[in-house]
Amino acid sequence: MNNWTRREWLGGFGATALVAAGTRTARAEDGKVVIVSWGGDYQDALREAYWKPFAAATKVAVVEDTRPLPPRIKAMVETGSVEWDVVDLTDGQYTEVHKLGGFEPIDYAKLDAEALKQIDKRGHRPDGVMHQMASMGLAYRTDVFKADRPKSWADFWDVKRFPGPRALGAPIAAGAYATLEIALLADGVAREALYPIDLDRAFRKLDQIKPHVVKWYTTAVQPQQLLVDKEAVMTAAFSARTFILKEKGAPVDFVWNQAMAFPMLLAIPKGAKNRANAHRLISYMLQAENQARYGNIYYYGVANKRAYDKIAAARARMLTTFPENLAVQFVQDADWWGKNSVAVNDRWNTWVLR
């Protein structure tokens, strides 16, 4: 197997990343802060762009851990043994914990006011703040579709013009895989009219594509892997992971049109021990200069608009929040998912077993 495929397995987001937990990047001279993200090359980028320079500038030791899954946060909060100060979550994960009241309020007076002005107001939650956006969109093999390339979810459903096996996600993980939204878009629903999701219509549309879907994946590393292994010629996949593969030479590309953008938020678990340092680190991670450094290393869409002044043009076009990209996407309604995920899961299980 190639190096990049192996990295991909160990890499991502919700995967079984077995990355060094508790790595220190500075000594505890001015206290510490424990931050938890998803391991792999993603966490490497966060460390280089934010945590190392933060520790050097503030003398606050940054202690890392991985996989801040909502059930782990819930268990820590409920047992009163909170070991984490800052967690990095998708909007869906954030919403599940938010519903339970599992976060400390964010004290916006302690965050960089200039940075906050540059961040979309929808990312200013009472108990969480957006630091980047990610996308789930159509990814396909460029060696299969050379001249006529898929450009929309309607094309994904067009198995005559674009033949070959497909993959889509089971819409668990609070809808992170966008499958129902994708079905509605393929059925002609406008991006602005997706929510509240018309479940009957979405499942009717999914009936049509079901025979062509080789895998309804359930983990975040699967879609890109299915594409690289030629199990599917087309899938819904994460933008960042797809562009990383593309840059390493894999024959894949990503379609921004009709992709789902979703915020990723930083939040402080209720009862966290180093709340002051947590605010300092969050503030640092929102500043334009630091976000630009991150944007030049990694592939997620920085939240601070001013960061684009210093991000290389070629890279900027691969990022979710680049204005031209954001203009053709829709933003996931995590609130709707928070209210409906249990019911959707039941309906999904019934449908998929049929």
Partner: protein, 275 residues
């Protein structure tokens, strides 16, 4: 407690305390959670037992586990017989080959199968290169892939207990049968195999019990219908934070398993098992 009883129980005390703290207590906590539905203590259970989804998946779980167990018996018993009938270097080499998979994580082994069974995988390439098939055939993301992956993981749990029983069988017994005029086949079927049966039964039980809890292998190698109860429990606990409902699902699986164990005990006798 008398001194004698104390002496007998004291050495087991650490194990009992460990079980109480790390097994019984969490289990009781889960039971409490599963009975804490807002709509009444048995609301989760009622929802599970009246929903076609959960009963279907429960059935699929037991069906898959049973299929895997049968395959492990078919493949494992002759392997164990071979192991028990060779000696010296060969036995060591074969034993190492059986035990080797234990050293690799299930996840890694499952990914290895994906590299082998995929559309562009090794097996399909060989099949097309030799002209046996024209295009790639579906070897995973279906029932076949799940069986291959699960049997591979579980086969040592079958082979080792059977081997341990077979190697304890007095070799003079089949020979005595032969001297009384039994054909080798007859000696095997009426003398050797019945003596090996406790090992086969305990191996099968072990494989079955581990198989019903599988979820990584079916999730990665299976298709849409290869869903195990554990996959549903995982979604409830990890994604939806419905710990009560997830616990109730786990208890339904536990109860169904206990019923099966009781039936097994009734017809085969658990006390006869030796590992």
């Amino acid at each position: 407690m008398s001194g004698r009883a104390l002496r007998r129980w004291l050495p087991v005390a650490p194990a009992l305390v460990f079980l109480a703290v790390f097994f019984v207590y969490p289990l009781v906590r889960m039971l409490v959670l599963s009975l804490a539905a807002a709509e009444g203590p048995f609301a989760y259970y009622a929802a599970i037992l009246t929903s076609p989804v959960y009963l279907t998946v429960l059935w699929l779980t037991f069906k898959t586990a049973l299929g895997v167990t049968v395959l492990c018996v078919v493949l494992g018993v002759p392997t164990a017989y071979l192991l028990a009938s060779v000696s010296g270097t060969w036995r060591n080499v074969l034993l190492a080959a059986v035990a080797l998979p234990f050293l690799t994580s299930i996840l890694i082994r499952t990914y290895a199968w994906m590299a082998l069974l995929g559309r562009a995988g090794v097996v399909n390439q060989v099949l097309q290169w030799t002209g046996l098939t024209v295009g790639p055939i579906r070897l995973m993301h279906n029932e076949f892939g799940v069986y291959v992956g699960m049997v591979h993981v579980l086969l040592p749990f079958m082979v080792l207990p059977v081997y341990s029983v077979m190697s304890g069988i007095d070799p003079r017994l089949p020979r005595a049968a032969a001297s009384l005029g039994a054909t080798p086949r007859r000696a095997l079927s009426t003398v050797f195999l019945p003596l090996a049966l406790p090992g086969i039964a305990s191996g099968a039980l072990l494989v079955f019990l581990i198989a019903i809890g599988f979820y990584i292998t079916p999730a990665l190698l299976g298709g849409p219908r290869q869903v195990m109860i554990s996959n549903l429990v995982e979604v409830q606990v990890i994604e939806l934070l419905q710990w009560g409902f997830g616990s109730a699902l786990a208890f339904v699986l536990l109860a169904a398993t206990l019923v099966l164990m009781a039936l097994f005990d009734r017809f085969l006798g658990l006390e006869r098992l030796t590992v």
